[in-house]
C-alpha cells in the first residue's frame, strides 16, 4: 500500500473534529474530555488525526511539500489509535491509523527521517531489538528458570518476552515472574532465549516496513518449529502486532495468541492458579493502546467502496482486550477497582508509542503525566497496567510528579497474590 491508496479516506474527512475528543457519549468532565495527546500538546489542527489526513491530502495534491517541519509533525504522534476509534464511532469509510502509518512510510521513502528512529532501526538490524542492547544477552532474564529452549525442544506454550522486558533491569522481576506463574500453573513453557527477536512492530510504526516483514517471517518459522499451541507475551506491543500486523502481512502465526493477562485470567478462572495473598488497595487500570483498541485482531481487508464496508470489518477497537486485566484486579483478594474517565476503546495513551518516547521524550513524559493526573483524580491508591512500555513511562511520570501513586505491572500483582516466593523471582 502507499499513501495514494488512502486518498479517498483523506478526501472523506469532513473535519468534524470528532477525532480530537473522547467519543461524545463517554465524555464525563471538562478535564478529561480529549483523547489525542498530540493535538492536546501542540494545538495546531495539523497535530490531530484529521490534520494529518489533510497534510497527506495536501502533499498528494501538490498543495504543499514534505520538509523537516512537516515530517516532525507526522512523527509527533504515538499512533495510539484514539483518533481512529473516535472517527470510526461515526464513520465507516476512513482508516485513520492506516493513513498515519502510510504518512510515516512516505516520510521514510522520501528520506525525512528522525535521527533517534534511525538509531532504533540500526539497533534492530544489529542486535534484533530497538533498545540497542546486545542480542547475546536477550535471554539472560530467564537464567535458572526451568523453561524449555524452543531452539532445541518442542513446547505447548511459547513465551515471547519482548524487547523491553528482556532488557529493562527494573522489569526483570516481572518477566521472570510471568514465566514462574505459567510454570506454577503447570504449563509446558518454552522460550527462544537469545534467539528471540523484536516483533518488528515498532519498525513498521516508524515507517520501515521491510524490517517488520523479516521479523514476522522469523517468528513464524520459530513458532512452527516449536509446535506451540499457544504464543503468550506480556508485551502489549508484540501482542497487537502478532494479532493484527502479522496476519495483515500474510504471516499469520499458526497458534492461539494470548496476552499474559488473558492467559492468567484463564488460569485463575480454571482454578489452575490461585490468588491467596491479600491486596487491600484501591487500583485504577490503564488500558494499554496496543492491548486495547490496537489489540483488535486482523478482521480482513475490504477491497470495495468503504462506505459499503460491513461493520464486522471496521477496526474500531471493540475486540480489544479489556476484560481480562480487570478480571485479574478483581480477583486479587481485598483489592478494589475504580475506573478512570478515559478507558477501554477511548483510553488515553501512556505516551511511549510510535517512537515518541525515543524521539520526543518531553512529549512522551507530558502524555504520561496527563495519565497519572487522571489516575490520581479517581482516588486510587495504585495504578495497574499490562504493558512494559506503559509501566516504564507511567512510573517515570509518577516519580517526576512526586505523586504517591505506585505503578504496577499486573504480572507483579499476580505473582505476589499467588504467593510465589521472592527468592524464586530473581
Amino acid at each position: 500500500m502507499a499513501l495514494s491508496d488512502y486518498q479517498r479516506d483523506m478526501e472523506g474527512c469532513s473535519r468534524c473534529s470528532s477525532c480530537k475528543w473522547v467519543p461524545f457519549n463517554q465524555i464525563k468532565s471538562w478535564r478529561f474530555a480529549k483523547n489525542c495527546p498530540s493535538i492536546c500538546r501542540y494545538n495546531f489542527h495539523a497535530y490531530s488525526g484529521s490534520g494529518r489526513m489533510i497534510i497527506g491530502l495536501s502533499l498528494l495534491t501538490g498543495r504543499s511539500e514534505l520538509n523537516d517541519n512537516v515530517a516532525e509533525i507526522v512523527y509527533k504522534c504515538q499512533l495510539c489509535g484514539a483518533c481512529d476509534t473516535a472517527c470510526k464511532v461515526y464513520r465507516d469509510d476512513i482508516d485513520l491509523t492506516e493513513v498515519l502509518l502510510e504518512l510515516r512510510a512516505h516520510c521514510v521513502e522520501q528520506g525525512f527521517l528522525m535521527v533517534e528512529h534511525m538509531a532504533m532501526i540500526d539497533a534492530l538490524k544489529r542486535e534484533d531489538n530497538v533498545l540497542g542492547e546486545p542480542k547475546a544477552k536477550r535471554g539472560e532474564w530467564a537464567e535458572g528458570l526451568p523453561l524449555k529452549d524452543i531452539n532445541r525442544e518442542r513446547c505447548e506454550v511459547l513465551f515471547h518476552a519482548g524487547c523491553r522486558y528482556s532488557y529493562d533491569p527494573d522489569l526483570r522481576g516481572t518477566v521472570r515472574g510471568a514465566a514462574l506463574l505459567l510454570l506454577e500453573a503447570g504449563l509446558d513453557v518454552g522460550i527462544a532465549g537469545a534467539e528471540e527477536s523484536c516483533c518488528g512492530g515498532r519498525a513498521y510504526e516508524l515507517g520501515y516496513r521491510g524490517e517488520a516483514e523479516n521479523y514476522a517471517e522469523d517468528l513464524l518459522s520459530r513458532v512452527k518449529a516449536s509446535g506451540a499451541r499457544i504464543l503468550v507475551t506480556p508485551c502489549a506491543d508484540g501482542y497487537a502486532h502478532f494479532r493484527y500486523l502479522y496476519p495483515r502481512m500474510g504471516k499469520e502465526l499458526p497458534c492461539e495468541i494470548l496476552h499474559m493477562t488473558q492467559l492468567l485470567d484463564r488460569l485463575v478462572r480454571e482454578g489452575r492458579l490461585r490468588f491467596r495473598e491479600q491486596f487491600p488497595l484501591l487500583f485504577t487500570y490503564h488500558d494499554p493502546c496496543h492491548l486495547g483498541r490496537m489489540g483488535e485482531p486482523y478482521l480482513g481487508d475490504w477491497k470495495g467502496d468503504k462506505l459499503q464496508r460491513p461493520m464486522s470489518l471496521k477496526r474500531a477497537g471493540r475486540k480489544g482486550v479489556y476484560e481480562a486485566p480487570r478480571n485479574l484486579i478483581q480477583a486479587l483478594p481485598g483489592a478494589g477497582l475504580v475506573e478512570m474517565e478515559r478507558i477501554r476503546e477511548y483510553s488515553w495513551c501512556c505516551g511511549a508509542g510510535g517512537g515518541v518516547h525515543e524521539a520526543f521524550p518531553e512529549f512522551s513524559s507530558w502524555t504520561a503525566r496527563e495519565r497519572v493526573e487522571e489516575a490520581l483524580a479517581t482516588g486510587a491508591e495504585a495504578l495497574a497496567t499490562a504493558c512494559p512500555w506503559c509501566v516504564r513511562v507511567l512510573r517515570d511520570a509518577s516519580r517526576e510528579m512526586r505523586a504517591e501513586l505506585p505503578v504496577y505491572d499486573l504480572v507483579d500483582l499476580a505473582l505476589q497474590a499467588a504467593g510465589i516466593a521472592e527468592k524464586e523471582r530473581v
Binding site: S18, N69, R91
Partner: protein
C-alpha cells in the same frame, strides 16, 4: 480536487510574522503550508466543489483575551485580515481572503464559572458542548447543544453563528441564551456586552444603556466579521436527572442506564395537518425537553446506512417508510418528579389521541432507548450523519412558524427528489428535514438535509445548481432563503429583504476602519457563477428578484 485557491496566496511578511511570534511565542504561530492547509480544508456545508477554502497566511494560538487583542492589532498594522476559529465545524470557520491570519482559539478552553444559583456558565471559545453539559449535569443543570453536535463551541453559536438544536423547545436558540460577552472589536479594542461590564455579574446581556446584541449578533451572526468573542455567559436550564448517565460502550454498542424521569416518544400522525395541530398543542401545553421532526429514513441512514441503501432499492419498503412514517415527530419528556413525568406523558397521550397519533415509547425498548437517548440528549449521533456518503449539506430556511417550516420541508423534498432521480445526490428517500421548535413552539426551524459523496464528480457537479434551485424556491414562496453567510446569495437576496446587507456593511465600516476582519461570511457580496445553472432557472430567478426587489420607497407592492 483543485488547487485554484492557491493562485493568489502569498506568504506572510517577515515583519508581521515576527510581531505575531512576539505576542504568542514561537511555538504558537505557524506559517508552514501543510499546517495552514489544516485550516483550508473545509468540506462541510460547503457547496463549492473544491472543498478547499482560502489558505491563511499564518495561524496563531493565543491563550488570553489580551493576546487576541494584540494579534488583531498586528493584523491592522500590517494590512492583514483575521478570522477567528474555535471548534471549527463547517466551512464558516475558514478564511475567505488571501491575506488572513487564522486565530485558532483552541488554547482558550476553560469553563470559568458555573453559577448554580443564577443558572449560567461563563465559558471561553474552545469549550465544547459535551464538556459544558457534563459539568452542568453535575450541578443539576444542562446547556443547549446545537444540531451540529457536541463537538461545537457553545460560545461560537451563541455569539457568532446560528444556534439551532433539538432541545430548543426547552432550551431555546444559541443567541437567546447569551448573557453577556467579551468582544474584541476589529481594531483590537475590548468591549463587554451586558451587565458584566458594570461589575454586576453575568446575568444580563443588555444594559445599562442601549443593547448591543442586535449589532453584535443579529439574526445569523457575523462569523468573525465584526471581531472575536473571547468569553461569554450562557444560560443553563434545569436537569433533574442523574449527574452522569452511565453508559457502557460506544455509540452503536452503547448500553445506557436511562434515567427514570425520561420518556421518549416516536409519534406518527396520519397527515400533515394533524401533525401540525398536535405540535401546536404540545407547545401550548409547555411539555417536552427536546422535540424534532426527523424522518425515520434519517434514523436508518445514521445508524444503519447499509440498510437504507437496501430499502431505497425496494419499492414496497420505500413506500412503507416514506409514506407510512412520513408525518413523524420525536419528543423527549423529562420530569422533575414522578408526578411531573406522568403528567407530561398523560398530556402527550391526550394530544396524540385527539389527533389520531400513535406513539412508540422508545425507552421501554432497551436497545432503542440506549441508542436514542444520548443521540438526542447530547446530540452524539450527529457525526454519524456523515456515514451515508461522507458529506451532507443543507438547504436552510430561516426560523419561522411551524407551518412555514413544514412547507419548507415539502418544498425541499420535491427538489431533492428530482436530484436523487438524476443521481446528483444520494437517495435518502428525499424527505429528510431537520426540524426543531423553540420556546414551546413560539417559532420553529427547518433545514432540508441532503447526502452526497464529495468523491463522486456527479455529486460535486450538482451542488451549485441545487443551491440555486433551493434559493429560487425560497424566494418564490416568500421565505427567507438559505444561509445568509454565502456572499453570492447575500448579493441576490439582500435587495429582496430591505437591503439588510447595506446596514451590515455600514456597521462593518463603522467598527472596522482598516477592514481587518474577514467579512466574507458577514457582509461581502460576490456574483454567482450561473454557468452550471439551467437557463430557464436563471430566467426564473431574474423574474423573481425583479418582482420582489425593495425600492427606496420600501417593499414591493
Amino acid at each position: 480536487m483543485t488547487t485554484a485557491t492557491l493562485d493568489t496566496w502569498k506568504e506572510i511578511s517577515e515583519a508581521a510574522y515576527q510581531d505575531l511570534e512576539n505576542v504568542v511565542g514561537t511555538e504558537n504561530v505557524s506559517r508552514e503550508p501543510a499546517v495552514l492547509d489544516g485550516y483550508a480544508w473545509q468540506p462541510t456545508i460547503n457547496d463549492d466543489p473544491a472543498k478547499w477554502v482560502k489558505r491563511p497566511v499564518a495561524v496563531v494560538l493565543p491563550s488570553s483575551t489580551e493576546e487576541v487583542q494584540e494579534v488583531v492589532r498586528i493584523c491592522n498594522r500590517h494590512g492583514l485580515k483575521f478570522k477567528a476559529f474555535s471548534t471549527g465545524w463547517g466551512v464558516y470557520s475558514g478564511p475567505t481572503y488571501d491575506n488572513v491570519v487564522q486565530i485558532d482559539l483552541r488554547r482558550m478552553n476553560r469553563i470559568l464559572d458555573i453559577d448554580e444559583r443564577n443558572m449560567y456558565a461563563l465559558v471561553e471559545p474552545y469549550v465544547c458542548g459535551a464538556q459544558l453539559q457534563a459539568e452542568a449535569m453535575k450541578r443539576g443543570l444542562n446547556c443547549h447543544i446545537i444540531g451540529a453536535g457536541p463537538a461545537c463551541s457553545p460560545l461560537a453559536s451563541a455569539t457568532s453563528g446560528w444556534g439551532v438544536g433539538w432541545d430548543g423547545i426547552y432550551m431555546s436558540y444559541g443567541h437567546r441564551n447569551l448573557l453577556g460577552a467579551e468582544w474584541v472589536l476589529p481594531d483590537g479594542e475590548l468591549l463587554r456586552v451586558g451587565s458584566s461590564d458594570s461589575g454586576l455579574g453575568w446575568f444580563s446581556p443588555d444594559g445599562p444603556g442601549p443593547s448591543l446584541r442586535g449589532l453584535m449578533r443579529g439574526s445569523t451572526g457575523a462569523l468573525s466579521g465584526l471581531g472575536i468573542f473571547t468569553k461569554c455567559a450562557l444560560k443553563l436550564y434545569p436537569w433533574p436527572g442523574p449527574s452522569r448517565v452511565r453508559i457502557r460502550g460506544l455509540l452503536l454498542d452503547a448500553k445506557a442506564e436511562i434515567p427514570e424521569n425520561v420518556r421518549f416518544h416516536l409519534c406518527f400522525f396520519p397527515d400533515r395537518n394533524r401533525l401540525a395541530d398536535a405540535v401546536y398543542r404540545i407547545g401550548e401545553a409547555e411539555i417536552g425537553y427536546l422535540a424534532t421532526r426527523t424522518a425515520v429514513a434519517a434514523f436508518i441512514y445514521t445508524f444503519a446506512p447499509h440498510l437504507l441503501r437496501r430499502i431505497a432499492g425496494t419499492s414496497n419498503l420505500r413506500d412503507v417508510l416514506s409514506k407510512g412514517t412520513k408525518w413523524g415527530f420525536v419528543i423527549m419528556l423529562v420530569g422533575a418528579s414522578e408526578e411531573e413525568i406522568d403528567y407530561q406523558d398523560a398530556v402527550l397521550r391526550r394530544i396524540l389521541a385527539d389527533h389520531e397519533g400513535l406513539s412508540i415509547e422508545a425507552m421501554g425498548v432497551p436497545a432503542i432507548g440506549s441508542m436514542v437517548f444520548m443521540n438526542f440528549f447530547r446530540v452524539t449521533a450527529i457525526p454519524m450523519v456523515f456515514r451515508m456518503g461522507g458529506l451532507f449539506s443543507t438547504a436552510l430556511d430561516r426560523n419561522d412558524t411551524w407551518d412555514t417550516q413544514l412547507d419548507w420541508a415539502e418544498i425541499g423534498e420535491s427538489i431533492k427528489r428530482k436530484w436523487i432521480e438524476r443521481g446528483g445526490i444520494l437517495d435518502d428517500l428525499a424527505d429528510n428535514p431537520f426540524m426543531a421548535l423553540y420556546e414551546s413552539n413560539m417559532w420553529a426551524h427547518c433545514e432540508e438535509i441532503f447526502q452526497y459523496d464529495a468523491r463522486d464528480p456527479k455529486h460535486l457537479a450538482s451542488l451549485e445548481p441545487m443551491f440555486i434551485e433551493f434559493s429560487i424556491a425560497a424566494i418564490e414562496k416568500c421565505m427567507e432563503p438559505l444561509s445568509a453567510t454565502d456572499a453570492r446569495l447575500r448579493k441576490l437576496v439582500s435587495p429582496l429583504m430591505g437591503h439588510y446587507n447595506e446596514w451590515q456593511k455600514k456597521l462593518s465600516g463603522a467598527l472596522d476602519a482598516n477592514r481587518a476582519a474577514d467579512t466574507g461570511m458577514y457582509c461581502d457580496e460576490i456574483d454567482f457563477d450561473f454557468s452550471k445553472v439551467e437557463p430557464e432557472l436563471k430566467a426564473k430567478l431574474d423574474r423573481l428578484t425583479e418582482k420582489f426587489r425593495w425600492t427606496e420607497e420600501g417593499p414591493p407592492s
